[in-house]
């Protein structure tokens, strides 16, 4: 009986855990323990769902017992089980980490609020991923967004407030664009269910209204996923948020938005509409190429490493959009694979920065001189994550770049190949700056000596770093998931998912 309820449990567990977490406002530690427990159980549920999907194919779950399209349904298929896994997996690592980090960065009175927000954010992201209903997706999107704004605003710097506000404005504009798009689609088809939409949209042909809906949805989702040049909210938001929040959001939020983009472009509107009628690739490819180059260069000049990583995130999102824009199975697999891999690497990098922040109170590059000796494990993990961003072999980044370049070569798009490689080199430069500061520069005279971060930070950090190496060395698992999802998406032009 329980196994049939898994899709609901996936979201309901953290969602209903949040009020309990909130009720423990006097006892932040218990609040944290509860949140951690729930994040683990969400991860467990995701794994079980993965097994179910592998064995039995797509799972559908009707809320309230009302069959789709009348009720709201959850759908778990090859594509989103991958995202579920990565979101809950990152959560399962970041939540345990957050306790120690939060002690340093957030007032005790607010800690349980922070954990509640994180839990809500997790629930929202999982819900977006699993939702089979266009409007339900919006509601869950808002849950995750609101809790994200909250988490960001809890940063120690006052600029966290403005960052959060900026994100709130842009995020809400994005969400409103999404509901405009969904509204027009509903107007044209009379349904909100994604599978149903997918079967009905082809009947509309190339109606102007559906084209406008498409435009609004792409722009709205683009805002959420920080598609260049709609990314302006992202660097500040990631840079000033509390460390645990940065790590969690950076590793998951934009990935989920990319998933939503893939869902809309491929399975709801279908390959034919998106790429042959709307030619969306001619938006994605130039935009992402520009994003990759421009933001990578901007990242080079950042003093705050968290900010640098944030810019790098925009570039990495560019890779994913580029993969989508290649319009072939390899490209899409690369995008999905990178979605998985980037979560791992950015998670590790931000966790490392959290550990640095825990010890030295900031993440400026010049405060990190000599840290390689003082915090060897933290910096080693950072290097692993950094190598992954660069795309050095045996790290996850290499695998996704490999497949992405392969996709570009299949199209014969050599300039794109060049762009990817040039961007890797720029990435090498900005990672190298940190490595040089940490390992080559001496600790300034008179600076107090720093010890290694506590184990409660190091263990989660190294879990992710190790995952980077493991999935870089053995990408069979992630690649198979990504590839089969990509294949299904390309073949699903007519029959929905």
């Amino acid at each position: 009986m329980m196994s049939s309820q898994l899709p609901a449990l996936q979201v309901v567990l953290p969602l209903l855990g949040a009020p309990f977490c909130f009720l423990l406002w006097r006892y932040p530690r218990w609040s944290w323990a509860l949140a951690t427990l729930l994040s683990w159980s969400a991860f467990g549920v995701a794994i079980m769902l993965l097994i179910q999907v592998q064995n039995a194919g797509t799972i559908e779950y009707a809320f309230g017992g009302w069959q789709a399209p009348w009720g709201i349904e959850y759908v778990v298929d090859q594509l989103n089980v991958l995202v579920l896994l990565i979101v809950s997996g990152i959560a399962a690592v970041v939540f345990p980490y957050s306790w120690t980090s939060v002690q340093r960065e957030i007032d005790p009175e607010q800690q349980s609020l922070f954990f509640t927000s994180m839990l809500l954010c997790l629930a929202g992201l999982l819900g977006i991923t699993i939702a089979g209903d266009a409007f339900n997706l919006f509601v869950l999107l808002e849950i995750s967004s609101l809790s994200t704004y909250t988490m960001i605003s809890m940063g120690r710097d006052r600029r966290a407030l403005t960052a959060s506000f900026q994100y709130l404005i842009m995020g809400t504009i994005g969400a409103t664009f999404i509901i405009i798009g969904v509204g027009i689609l509903y107007m044209l088809t009379g349904t909100l269910n994604m599978q149903d939409l997918a079967t009905r949209i082809p009947d509309l042909g190339t109606s102007r209204a559906s084209q406008v809906a498409f435009g609004f949805l792409i722009t709205g989702i683009g805002l959420k996923l920080a598609m260049f040049p709609l990314h302006l909210w992202l660097p500040n938001a990631y840079a000033y948020a509390p460390s645990a929040a940065s790590a969690f959001i950076a590793a998951t939020a934009t990935k989920v938005a990319v998933y939503v983009m893939v869902r809309y472009v491929f399975s709801i509107f279908g390959v034919g509409f998106s790429f042959e009628t709307m030619h969306i690739q001619w938006l994605f490819v130039p935009v992402s190429v520009f994003a990759i180059l421009f933001t990578s260069i901007v990242a080079l000049f950042q003093r705050d490493i968290k900010r640098m990583l944030a810019y790098s995130s925009v570039a990495q999102i560019g890779y994913m959009l580029l993969g989508i824009g290649l319009v072939n199975v390899t490209g899409l697999s690369a995008a999905l694979l990178h979605l998985f891999n980037h979560a791992l690497m950015k998670g590790a990098l931000f966790l490392a920065m959290g550990a640095v922040c825990y010890r030295i109170g900031n993440t400026f590059i010049d405060s990190m001189h000599g840290l390689g000796k003082q915090m060897p494990w933290t910096m080693a993990a950072f290097v692993v994550g950094g190598l992954s961003i660069v795309g050095v072999p045996l790290t996850t980044g290499f695998v996704s770049k490999w497949v992405l370049i392969q996709g570009a070569i299949e199209n014969g798009w050599w300039p794109v190949v060049a762009v990817i490689l040039v961007a890797s080199l720029i990435a090498m430069l900005y990672i190298w700056r940190v490595v040089e500061a940490a390992y080559m520069k001496p600790r300034p005279e008179g600076a107090e000596s720093i010890t290694e971060a506590p184990a409660s930070l190091l263990i989660p950090l190294w879990l992710l770093a190790a995952a980077n190496i493991y999935f870089g060395a053995n990408a069979q698992f992630s690649m198979e998931l990504a590839q089969s999802a990509a294949k299904t998406l390309f073949n699903s032009a007519v029959v929905g998912f």
């Binding site: 969602l15 809320f63 309230g64 849950i143 605003s153 088809t189 149903d196 102007r208 209204a209």
Partner: protein
């Protein structure tokens, strides 16, 4: 005119039906007023005026919702837009000052973006189904079933409530969670505190500026309190039959306490509704709602499947809807009250003349 309308005998349900042209005229007038209001908002510099006009805007759109047959939405829009949002914005103005410092930045780029977006939308409307046509695809497929089946399947006359609470019950759970999330956010940003704890000492402004109690208002408010609360309960439980439901009832309930706070001050109000209780209620409402879902799961149905709550599916639906609406009401009321308190606390602090700049990295 008078005579030709009066052909049928009259009871509550036999009033003369339909004056579509007149509906249209009302609709168009309201829309034009909306446009005027919006342009005034764009033009004006006084934030206070802007907020007041936003209240009008919201009331007008609520009126339009009534004209478009969306009574539940009208209810909610008035409660939220003209009510809560406006009050919160006003409270914000106390802290921020009510003047925009400068005119807008050169509006060319925004104007361009807006024009493009608007033009795209207008272009898109050319292929959209005609407004109000019963044959539009939007009205068939899914909606048909709600209209045809919900009175028997769910057993309550208000189809909006049926869809809201049962067919799309999970959306509504999400909605409650959103409200709850907002509470978490607001509490993390602002604190609720009794103003007594602030220094009230240096209130040496001229006498005319000093706050004095308004006995008239206090009396009126006191008379209205029980009335409002009864009305809230009515809306809560009448939601199955007419416009209303948990959310609207929650707002009305909150409005009662907002009124009380406005007339009697935060101190008295906090004594009436202590903060911990509000917090527990806010979380409790969510738990009641979610708990219903969990119970239905334990009874063998899917999440939020009320059919299994009783032997008879229809009564199961009834029980389920009443319980979850209760959860919604509790959460919404307590969240809104708490949020309002948080805003007022900040406004009071401002009044108490505290320094404007605090440690940038400390949550106060």
């Amino acid at each position: 005119m008078l005579l030709c309308e009066q052909q049928t005998p009259r009871g509550l349900n036999q009033l003369p039906r339909k004056k579509t042209e007149m509906e249209l005229a009302v609709n168009i007038t309201l829309l034009l007023m909306l446009c005027a209001t919006v342009f005034a908002v764009v033009k004006l510099q006084s934030l206070f005026a802007i907020v007041m006009l936003f209240g009008i805007y919201s009331l007008l759109s609520a009126m339009i919702f009534v004209a478009l047959d969306a009574v539940d939405v009208a209810f909610t829009e008035a409660a939220v837009g003209a009510g809560i949002s406006t009050v919160l914005m006003l409270a914000t103005l106390v802290t921020t000052g009510r003047w925009k410092k400068k005119p807008e930045r050169s509006g060319l780029l925004p104007l361009f973006v807006v024009t493009i977006t608007g033009a795209a939308l207008v272009w898109g409307t050319l292929d959209m189904p005609e407004y109000g046509n019963p044959a539009n695809p939007a009205h068939h497929h899914v909606a048909d079933r709600y209209i045809a089946e919900s009175p028997t399947e769910i057993g309550i006359p208000n189809m909006v409530t049926s869809v809201l609470a049962s067919y799309r019950g999970f959306d509504t759970l999400g909605e409650v969670i959103v409200v709850f999330t907002a509470l978490v956010g607001v509490l993390s940003l602002l604190q609720v505190r009794r103003p007594r704890t602030f220094a009230r000492k240096q209130d040496n402004r001229p006498d005319t500026h000093r706050r004095r109690p308004y006995p008239v208002l206090q009396v009126v408010a006191l008379i209205m309190m029980p009335f409002i609360i009864v009305f809230a309960l009515y809306v809560q439980f009448h939601g199955d039959f007419g416009p209303g439901g948990g959310f609207q009832a929650g707002v009305i309930f909150a409005v009662a306490f907002i009124l009380y706070t406005l007339t009697y001050g935060l101190d008295d109000s906090l004594a009436l509704t202590p903060l911990p209780a509000l917090k527990i209620l806010a979380a409790g409402g969510v738990i009641i709602y979610g708990g219903t879902g969990v119970v239905s799961m334990l009874l063998g149905g899917n999440f939020l499947d009320y059919n299994v709550l009783a032997a008879n599916p229809v009564s199961g639906q009834h029980i389920g809807i009443i319980v979850i609406e209760l959860g919604v009401g509790i959460t919404v009321a307590s969240v809104l009250i708490t949020v309002f308190y948080a805003f007022v606390t900040r406004a009071e602090r401002n009044r108490a003349g505290e320094k404007q700049v605090d440690l940038p990295n400390k949550a106060d």
